[in-house]
């Protein structure tokens, strides 16, 4: 696994596959997942390729499978996911599969059609039943009203009796309509018939099932009374327009009762038939559900194979397919084996041939990762994929990422919680993986479980160093500050709120530092923040400059690997000198200040920032304690300054100049070679060799666009020089976020939980009980989730910009092998 440092060596290969063995070979390669095929017919349309018919057949099969799946889902039958991974079936099996699917689909369709017809029948009958029942009440009411109407007729007088005296034959239609259509229906009836109809409607309380969609719909029964045939046809037309279903309804009560009985028995009959069809359907689907996942995988594999075959070239004789592909050199053996297996399986006599070939194209970047390193590699890749064989920052990121994170997230309590959560995810990894959650946010956390694990562990350590546990300190080794034994008596301590401890005084301060991390006494001191700020700022600078320096060193590794000696001398060297002279020197000053200056001469401690600025201004003011300044400092600083200033033109000018000279030299060489006939055979050969080498080295670069190189170098120089300064400042975010985190957690403790601790007695118990929950929730939501996210993002930035900009080009492209696993996985996501 040393390969994580640089990407795998890749070879561009040519594959000659016998036409009959091609399918088997490609499917073997798909199982292996180590070969990236190049599309050799990019200009050919999708539907003009060779195996388009097979692809289409696969699509047809997929469609049938989707149909089956939908039906299975509808019946809520569990689909068995056995995790089986069948091989891609041979082409001849495709016909069997097609036949099976065809049969299943037809059967399903037939069953569905039958069920639909039956359901429709059932619906009709139930509607009729409702109509008979509801209209009965209408008629009953009408009967009971009879007496009333007669009375009113009498009241109206003789004429009214006369007109109504003739037998008034009212016709009626009864039917069922969707409930929401009632109001417009009623309005339309009124308008179209000019109010000459009488509509009664009542709701059917139980929702009915729509036979086509299977939805539950609410309907209403209506009955319309009218007079005359013209109105009848009109009413019927309106009913049709509103999709109301009309049912014949007998006029006399006896007939209605008889019909109602008939309907009930028919409904019962239908129910048994329906349940039988349902059973049949269920049986068919259960049988299909067992295999459907495997079928899906098979069909997808076939389709993937044909897609790949479509990318291959047919040779002139039509007997073999030619493909070009990338594959890792390490795995050539495996690929050969797979090809042999494929040829054997297809029974071909001529072996498939794998040929390595030379190419000028940049190979893809393939970093072999495992589940632990993958997340770190992903972090790097999301910024930019490393160029081929470029130094890969991922292995360093594994350590530096959680470390920088922990500097900002330094709290042992929060770190422990994070660590525990990550450990839980790692321990139950397999079980969680099996569940396949769809929750994107959860999956994001789960995918990052190893990075969370490391971040938790590092934060725990950093928290112990900061001596910060939920914003409290613990006193393990005994604080080295002890005011009681000194000049302050117990009485004074009790009466005074603030007391000053003198570090120069032996009784106040033991004289040796606290053995591990921060002294707990600082937690109580008034100048805690001042002291921590100064400390954390310096620490940030030291680690930051360290990381940047490391990045510059990695660029040396790149230059050496690519045999780019110009860059070593014209880029790496000035860069190192520049960085060391400014910030290396600053670190020396910091360390000097820490070591050489103690409490006795604290007043003379030099200011680092002012000192650095003065170094650039060549300004050395008389200081009160100038005796403390080391004697050679002025000379040293001037020397460093000259070096720094020299570095800039060095970085800016030298490389373009040398490139130009080289170019001119080769030009001259080739022109002289052309001009004079070669006298000395040997030297001419050398010249040719040299020319060829130059050509292979960088013919394209040497088609020298001087302007471009100069501009590029200019940008590079400015970026580096300004970058060093701004990036160093940028590393101060380590301090800033750490401060913010500590303060926030302290505020949360003081404002929420401490309130409970202040209360005495039983009430205190209750208040602790009540206030613990908000404190814990806020701790998790704000300090653990939000703060961690912000610290994570800042760390990401520090890596992507401050660290990687020193050496990482990231201009490669990912190796994207043809692999069944990947295809099936991505499809599973889509579904």
């Amino acid at each position: 696994m040393g390969s994580l440092y640089r990407s795998e060596e890749m070879a561009s290969c040519q594959l000659f596959l016998q036409a009959e063995a091609a399918y088997a070979c490609v499917s073997e390669l798909g199982e292996l997942g180590l070969v990236q095929f190049r599309d050799l017919n990019p200009d050919v349309n999708a539907f003009q390729r060779k195996f388009v018919n097979e692809v289409r057949r696969c699509e047809e099969m997929e469609r049938k499978l989707r149909f089956l799946e939908k039906e299975i889902r509808k019946d809520e039958i569990p689909m068995l996911d056995t995790g089986d991974n069948p091989d891609a079936p041979a082409p001849r099996e495709m016909i069997d599969l097609e036949a099976t699917f065809e049969k299943l689909e037809n059967e399903m369709k037939e069953v569905n059609a039958n069920a639909e017809a039956l359901k429709r029948n059932y619906l009709d009958l139930t509607e009729l039943k409702h109509i008979l029942r509801k209209t009965q009440t209408f008629f009953d009411e009408a009967m009971s009203d009879q007496g009333m109407t007669e009375e009113s007729i009498v009241l109206l007088g003789e004429e009214a009796v006369k007109t109504s005296g003739q037998p008034l034959r009212l016709g009626f239609v009864a039917g069922v309509i969707l409930r929401e259509r009632i109001p417009p229906f009623e309005r339309m009836l009124w308008r179209a018939c000019r109010g000459n109809v009488f509509l009664r409607q009542t709701e059917i309380l139980t929702p009915l099932e729509d036979p086509v969609t299977g939805d539950r719909v609410h309907k209403s029964v209506f009955i319309i009374f009218f007079q005359g045939d013209q109105l009848k046809s009109r009413v019927k037309k309106i009913c049709e327009g509103f999709r109301a279903t009309l049912y014949p309804c007998p006029e006399t009560q006896a007939e209605r009762r008889e019909m109602s009985l008939g309907v009930t028995t028919r409904i019962e009959d239908l129910n048994t038939i329906l349940s039988q069809t349902q059973d049949h359907r269920h049986r068919v689907l259960v049988a299909a559900a067992k295999d459907i996942k495997v079928w899906f995988i098979k069909v997808r594999k076939i389709k993937a194979v044909y897609h790949t075959l479509n990318m291959l070239n047919l040779d002139v004789t039509q007997k073999c397919l030619i493909s070009e592909c990338w594959c890792p050199i390490r795995d050539l053996e495996k690929i050969q084996m797979a090809l042999r297996r494929g040829t054997e399986r297809s029974g071909g006599s001529v072996p498939s041939i794998l040929n390595r070939m030379e190419t000028k194209e940049q190979p893809p970047t393939y970093n072999c990762t495992n589940k632990f390193t993958k997340v770190f590699q992903d972090i790097v890749d999301s910024y930019g994929v490393a160029g081929y064989r470029e130094v890969n920052p991922a292995p360093f990121t594994i350590v530096s990422f959680p470390f920088l994170f922990s500097l900002m997230f330094g709290d042992a309590g929060h770190g422990t919680l994070m660590l525990l959560a990550a450990i839980a995810m790692v321990v139950f990894e397999k079980r969680i993986l099996r569940q396949k959650s769809d929750n994107e946010i959860w999956n994001m956390f789960f995918d990052g479980r190893y990075i969370i694990l490391l971040m938790g562990a590092f934060s725990l350590y950093a928290g112990l160093m900061y001596n910060d546990i939920f914003s409290k300190s613990i006193n393990i080794f005994g604080s080295v500050w002890h005011p009681t034994s000194g000049e302050f008596s117990a009485e004074i301590i009790k009466t005074h709120k603030d007391l000053t401890l003198d570090p120069t005084n032996d009784t106040d301060y033991r004289g040796v530092p606290y053995p591990f991390g921060m002294d707990p006494a600082w937690q109580l001191s008034l100048n805690k923040i001042k002291w921590l700020n100064s400390f954390k700022m310096k620490i940030s600078i030291i680690f930051g400059v360290g990381q940047m320096f490391f990045g510059v060193v990695l660029s040396l590794q790149n230059h050496r690997f690519f045999k780019d000696s110009i860059s070593i001398f014209c880029e790496f060297l000035p860069q190192v000198i520049f960085l060391t002279c400014i910030f290396g020197y600053l670190i020396v000053l910091i360390l000097h200040k820490w070591i050489a200056i103690d409490a006795t001469d604290a007043g003379c401690a030099p200011s680092l920032l002012i000192g650095l600025i003065n170094m650039f201004l060549l300004n050395y003011p008389e200081e009160p304690c100038s005796s403390r300044v080391p004697p050679g400092q002025k000379g040293l600083q001037s020397f460093l300054l000259i070096l720094i200033i020299l570095c800039v033109p060095w970085l800016l000018v030298l490389k373009p100049y040398i490139l130009k000279r080289r170019y001119q030299a080769t030009q001259q060489k080739s022109s002289s070679r052309l001009g004079t006939s070669t006298e000395d055979g040997k030297s001419a050969e050398d010249a040719i060799d040299g020319a060829i080498q130059d050509d292979s080295h960088g013919q394209y670069e040497e088609e020298l666009n001087l302007l471009e190189i100069v501009v590029h170098q200019c940008i590079h120089t400015i970026e580096y020089c300004l970058g060093c300064i701004s990036h160093t400042a940028s590393y101060l975010r380590l301090w800033a976020l750490s401060l913010a985190h500590a303060e926030l957690s302290e505020v949360l403790w003081n404002m929420v939980f401490r309130v409970a601790l202040k209360v005495d007695g039983y009430l205190g118990v209750i208040s602790i009980y009540i206030l613990f929950t908000p404190w814990a929730c806020l701790t998790i939501a704000i300090l653990l989730l939000m703060e961690a996210l912000s610290a994570f993002l800042h760390t990401l930035r520090l890596h992507w910009i401050e660290f990687q900009s020193k050496f990482y080009k990231g201009d490669g492209y990912l190796f994207d092998p043809f692999s069944f696993d990947k295809i099936i996985e991505s499809r599973a996501d889509e579904v």
Binding site: A46, F47, R66, P184, R191, A192, E240
Partner: protein
């Protein structure tokens, strides 16, 4: 409405419609489509465009009508989504767009019933954007007055219909007159509505609607030659919100043959070009196609500006044109009649 507040209510939808617009087929897509040998090829290629798998669940063999239905369905889903998300001025605007489809549906249904077709046979042919509740009961009416009183009075088209009530009965000619009268009233009303919205909406929509009105005026005139439609009746059908109003319309009302129509168009630079370049010879674009091309050009222009409703109208129109193109190509492919397969109208 000013652009400052536009995004509060309509920003999401404008973004959405611009995204949809990105899915409109490009010239290269068309070049690929016309190379198709069968409808299956067409389906395969459409899969690689924004249409994605919209035909994936259709059993082969594929019918052109299925493609047509699916195209419509896709547009309707997108449109309904926008309509459901929109608030008043935009919601009304989108409703206005659907009215033209309603008019077409009404006319289709009346013509159908006139020819004794069953209503259930006609309904699937209606454009789903223009369907309304009372639509299926249209066939109870036998006179325009009845049509108005019983059916249309509840629909938003009621106010447009008032002018047509006087027609005596529903025959072929009258239906055409009703259609055009409705359209005229609709266009004028829509025009007025867009003017009240003002700003760039007003500007872009007045361009679009003016063109629509003028196109109708030209087409009505040309189609009326050889029918018994009297000239003054014809003049009543011209929508009066176009650039032709009032002089051009007056001249059109007097026109007796195609040459005279052409002479009218001479006075308007944008229409003159269309008439000049069109001809009925095979291999050249017809006047209708030229009008479509001009419309596409107008609609594309609407996307150049921000903060106005014109793009919603433009999107629907462009999508409609795209459907026409795809159907044209599909028909050519299906009927193996490749000679005229290029006469689609490219959009981007």
């Amino acid at each position: 409405m000013n652009s400052l507040n536009f995004n509060i209510d309509n920003g999401y939808l404008e973004g959405l419609v611009r995204g949809f617009k990105g899915g409109i087929l490009k010239q290269t897509d068309y070049l690929n489509l016309i190379q198709c040998e069968t409808l299956e090829d067409l389906k395969l290629h459409l899969q690689s465009t924004d249409y994605g798998n919209f035909l994936a669940n259709e059993a082969s063999p594929l019918q052109v009508s299925v493609i047509d239905d699916k195209l419509k369905e896709k547009l309707v889903i997108e449109f309904q989504h926008m309509r459901n998300q929109s608030v008043t001025p935009l919601a009304t605007f989108l409703d206005y767009i659907t009215y033209s489809y309603m008019i077409d549906n009404i006319v289709l249904l009346i013509t159908g019933t006139l020819h004794q077709r069953a209503i259930s046979e006609l309904i699937p042919k209606c454009h789903p954007l223009g369907s309304f509740e009372q639509m299926e009961a249209l066939h109870i009416a036998s006179t325009p007055a009845e049509l108005y009183n019983a059916v249309l009075v509840d629909t938003p088209l009621a106010s447009y219909f008032i002018d047509c009530i006087s027609e005596q009965d529903l025959d072929e000619l009258n239906i055409e007159i009703i259609r055009n009268a409705l359209y005229k009233a609709y266009l004028e009303d829509f025009y007025k509505f867009c003017q009240t919205l003002g700003d760039s909406t007003g500007a872009y929509m007045s361009d679009a609607l003016a063109f629509e009105a003028d196109r109708r005026a030209f087409i009505i005139t040309i189609n009326s030659f050889g029918t018994e439609l009297p000239k003054d009746d014809r003049a009543k059908l011209y929508p009066r919100c176009g650039k032709l109003f009032p002089d051009g319309l007056a001249a059109l009302a007097r026109a007796d043959d195609y040459e005279q129509v052409r002479a009218v168009a001479e006075y308007y630079s944008e229409y003159r070009v269309l008439f000049e370049e069109s001809s009925n010879n095979p291999g050249e674009k017809t006047l209708e196609d030229k009008f479509f091309e001009y419309e596409v050009m107008l609609m594309k222009k609407a996307f150049l500006d921000q903060f106005h409703f014109g793009i919603f109208y433009a999107y629907v129109k462009l999508k409609e044109q795209e459907s026409r193109n795809i159907i044209w190509i599909a028909e050519c492919v299906a009927q193996r009649h490749r000679a005229k397969i290029d006469s689609y109208i490219p959009i981007f």
